[in-house]
């Protein structure tokens, strides 16, 4: 219909506006999955995947989620816009889950929680908020290493990135001394980001007594604490245990900011369910902060998507579903723990001389195996075991059916 329009004088296709746009670098994790897909080896394993898999290696939709969906469908609700800050019953339940329903912060209404686009969206809103309102140094201290997306998020918001020691390669464990040492030197009023539990990518978490010391030194340095909690319940199987650090810091007098994700612990990945919380001095301050969070949210996406938040709220606020959820999240965490144990047992059985205790000590979805890049490459080339170059494996990709193979493969490249 319009083909002949191009014959007219007005139609000149210029050189593209985008001639100077470079190809963006390929996502490293995506690259792993792409290569995995192409591999024809029937024994191949994808240990790059950051999503839970059941013992058949399949995505797992929680029963409590299906039940919640049925309840919601029956209600025949309308599709009117949510408020900018999201579904109120979700935000409230989200905060209660993290802090505990009896928390003094909630009782005095001195916090604000907004619904966000899962963990990423929460971190982004948090970063934007700090960039605009934080009068201290705009330096965000991340543990070394941290989730790959932390750096670009904070950087794009205008913050500077710094690091504190965290992972000790020689033990595949926590460099407690190094962490305290570095944290004690952080300039006052800087921002420190802490993984609440199931550190990504290492799986290495501080023990409670270590958290206490960290809290003390952070307080001495007067740092603003930014907790990232993406695995509550998923780490130990117990939601209160996994939130212990967050709650301790608050009790200890820190007015934290907190990002939460329900991607993993409710399996709601693609529904994008998360929350961002600011603990304030008092209710009045919380109201002011809330008003500013809305100003930050509106020009990005106006208001958040309802579906996942409604599912999460229904689960959290319906006693039978909540109980079912706690069982299921416990089940997911247990399967991971079992796979860790079986992997180590398999390696021992194969006669491995190495100490694999860290595989059991580490917690959550990921395991920093300690494998070197050359060993990782051999695992991929010779055994079709796919993982990221840093030696990180997703335990979620391990099943009772393939853990033996994995133990054989790892032993082969490390003996």
């Amino acid at each position: 219909m319009f083909h002949d329009a191009c014959a007219s004088q007005a139609c000149v296709i210029h050189a593209s506006w985008w001639g100077g746009v470079q190809m963006g670098p390929p996502d490293p994790i995506l690259g792993v999955t792409e290569a995995f897909k192409k591999d024809t080896n029937p024994k191949k394993m994808n240990l790059g995947v950051g999503a839970y898999r059941d013992d058949q290696g399949k995505p797992f939709v929680l029963s409590c989620v299906r039940k919640a969906e049925a309840i919601i469908a029956a209600k025949q609700l309308d599709k009117e816009y949510l408020p900018i800050g999201g579904l109120a019953e979700f935000s409230k339940a989200c905060a209660q889950l993290a802090l505990g329903p009896e928390n003094e912060v909630l009782k005095s209404s001195r916090s604000v929680t907004v619904q966000t686009i899962s963990g990423t969206g929460s971190l982004r809103i948090g970063a934007n908020f700090l960039a605009r309102f934080h009068p201290g140094p705009h330096d965000v201290y991340l543990p070394k290493p941290s989730w790959g997306n932390h750096t670009p998020i904070f950087r794009d918001a205008g913050m500077q990135l710094k690091a504190y020691r965290y992972y000790e390669p020689s033990t595949c464990g926590f460099d407690f001394k190094g962490a305290l040492d570095d944290i004690s030197k952080i300039p006052e009023q800087s921002i420190i980001l802490l993984h609440a539990c199931a550190h990504n990518p290492t799986g290495v978490d501080p023990r409670p007594e270590q958290w206490k010391e960290i809290a003390d030194i952070v307080k001495k340095r007067n740092l603003l604490v930014f907790f990232d909690m993406a695995y509550q319940g998923f780490a130990s199987g117990d939601i209160d245990r996994d939130a212990w650090a967050v709650r301790h810091f608050i009790e200890n007098g820190h007015n934290i900011v907190l990002s939460q994700s329900f991607a993993k612990n409710m399996g709601l990945y693609g529904e994008r369910v998360g929350g961002f919380t600011v603990v304030c001095k008092d209710a009045e301050e919380a109201k002011r902060v809330e008003s500013q969070l809305k100003i930050l949210i509106r020009p990005i996406y106006s208001n958040p998507p309802v579906n996942g938040a409604r599912i999460a709220a229904t689960i959290l606020n319906t006693p039978e579903l909540r109980s079912l959820w706690l069982e299921e999240v416990h089940g997911m965490a247990n399967r991971i723990i079992k796979m860790r144990e079986q992997l180590v047992a398999g390696l021992k059985k194969n006669g491995s001389s190495h100490n694999w205790q860290h595989v059991i000590d580490q917690i959550g979805m990921f395991c920093f195996t300690g494998l070197k890049p050359e060993q990782v490459e051999r695992l991929t080339k010779e055994f079709s075991v796919y993982m990221t170059k840093d030696g990180r494996i997703s335990m979620a990709g391990v099943t009772s059916g393939n853990v033996g193979y994995l133990a054989d493969a790892i032993h082969a490249v490390t003996k």
Binding site: F2, A5, A10, C11, V12, H14, A15, W17, W18, G19, G20, V21, M23, G24, A51, V61, E69, A73, Q76, D78, K79, E80, Y81, I84, E104, S108, R110, I117, R124, F133, P135, N149, P152, I153, Q189, K219, N222, G253, N255, A263, Y269, G270, E271, V279, C280, K281, E285, R288, V289, S291, I295, L296, R298, P299, I300, Y301, S302, N303, N307, G308
Partner: protein, 414 residues
């Protein structure tokens, strides 16, 4: 209680977003005959929200499909959603699509699509990270346009002449004048149809003139298409301007929203359609947009995109959707013609042709702030200070009251 780094204590209270405050005030009003002509969502003749019948059908399909799970979508979104959504606005047989130079990013509503487009432009358009590139938005425009572009880093968001308050129509001369005098490479945010808030669209001839100047002066066309189908009832008709620009050879963006035409407001379904010169440029552009998405929301929500995709890719459901869209468009058209007729019958001073000349959800009544205040305070009829009314707020039950109240406002308040 607790120690606060001095940070948060200096956060000032922000003013509420006007349109939401209006609805809040409406909700708090106890007057039995109150009318809400504020927020932009469709309402039935009973004044109720309307979940499209086809949407209800598709939601049932989704809930009963055990093969579906909640896994992450790709960063750029559901592939079938992106392609079918782009086809909706450009036409199945768009030469640009056939030439493989059309791509898309699934985004969170129309706002999200504008955001990703804006962030990309700030980084890569007119140089590198050129925050001084002027962004032109119509005077008036949707109030969030300004914020989207300025929060993306653009320092110079300016109005282009659009609404002629005196003649209650398009200020074409002003519009063309701004197109001729603006700096080269300026970005223009164009409303594809059903201009928000005025309801006044350029005619096809006027669009041709606009396109000619934009092409000649190397201006960037960024379409905002939030009402396709909803305006006239015809998807093709409402996409005419976008398709004309594509056929004229523009490289351009079109931010699409499915909030109104699918009634999926709270599922946040949007699509940023990218038309590039060729497939290679397109590929590079999408790869960089992916990076922007990753640090904003990582990947988009699946529910709404699934609903739209299932509907658009099934001939039966697609037809049903078109009927649902016509239902909405027709009710709005009916309210327009009835409101005009009643005002004319009342002999309300002024001309009221603009009510039926204008198109889409909104009408710029031409009422001044004092008259608006009168309506809100004295008559409990809620509308924006600009005089913008949402035609969907009118029903056969309240239209007489509204017409009479407008008559009062115009005759009593100057």
């Amino acid at each position: 209680q607790g120690s606060t780094p001095r940070a948060i204590s200096i956060v000032p209270q922000a003013a509420p977003v006007a349109v939401f405050k209006l609805t809040q005030d409406f909700n708090n009003d106890q007057f039995p005959n109150k009318v809400n002509l504020g927020v932009g969502a469709y309402r039935t003749d009973e004044g109720q929200p309307w979940v499209l019948p086809v949407v209800k059908k598709v939601e049932k399909i989704i809930v009963h499909d055990d093969r579906l799970n909640h896994e992450y979508l790709p960063i750029l979104g559901l592939p079938e959603f992106r392609s079918s959504a782009s086809k909706i606005v450009l036409g199945d047989n768009s030469p640009a699509i056939l030439e493989n130079r059309v791509g898309a990013v699934q985004c969170l509503g129309g706002t999200g699509a504008l955001k990703i487009g804006a962030e990309f432009l700030r980084r890569f358009y007119n140089g590198s990270n050129n925050t001084k590139t002027p962004i032109y938005v119509s005077a008036p425009t949707w109030e969030n346009h300004n914020a989207v572009f300025s929060s993306a880093g653009f320092e110079d968001v300016r109005p282009y002449r659009y609404w002629d308050a005196e003649k209650r129509g398009l200020d074409l001369a002003g519009f063309l004048g701004d197109l001729e005098s603006c700096p080269e490479h300026s970005v223009f945010v164009l409303h594809a149809c059903a201009h928000n808030p005025t309801g006044t669209d350029p005619t096809q001839e006027q669009w041709k003139q606009i396109a000619e100047v934009m092409m000649r002066r190397k201006l960037f066309a960024f379409f905002d298409s939030a009402y396709q189908g909803f305006a006239s009832g015809s998807l093709e008709k409402d996409a005419w301007a976008v398709r004309y620009f594509v056929s004229s050879g523009f490289e351009m963006f079109c931010a699409q929203s499915f909030s109104k035409n699918f009634g999926l407001y709270n599922e946040r379904v949007g699509n940023l359609t990218v038309v590039a010169r060729d497939a290679d440029n397109l590929k590079r552009v999408l790869s960089q947009m992916e990076k922007v998405v990753r640090i904003t929301w990582s990947n988009p929500p699946s529910q709404g995109a699934r609903i739209v995709t299932i509907t658009l890719t099934s001939p039966e459901l697609f037809s049903e959707w078109q009927e649902n869209v016509k239902t909405m468009a027709n009710r709005v058209l009916l309210m327009r013609s009835q409101l005009k007729a009643k005002l004319q019958a009342l002999g309300t001073p002024g001309t009221w042709d603009h009510i039926t000349d204008q198109i889409g959800m909104f009408s710029f009544t031409g009422l001044n702030p004092k008259q608006v205040e009168y309506l809100v305070k004295e008559k409990h009829i809620y509308l924006m200070a600009s005089g913008r009314i949402n035609m969907c707020g009118l029903t056969t039950k309240n239209i007489d009251y509204v017409a009479e109240s407008i008559h009062e406002a115009v005759t009593k308040v100057q």
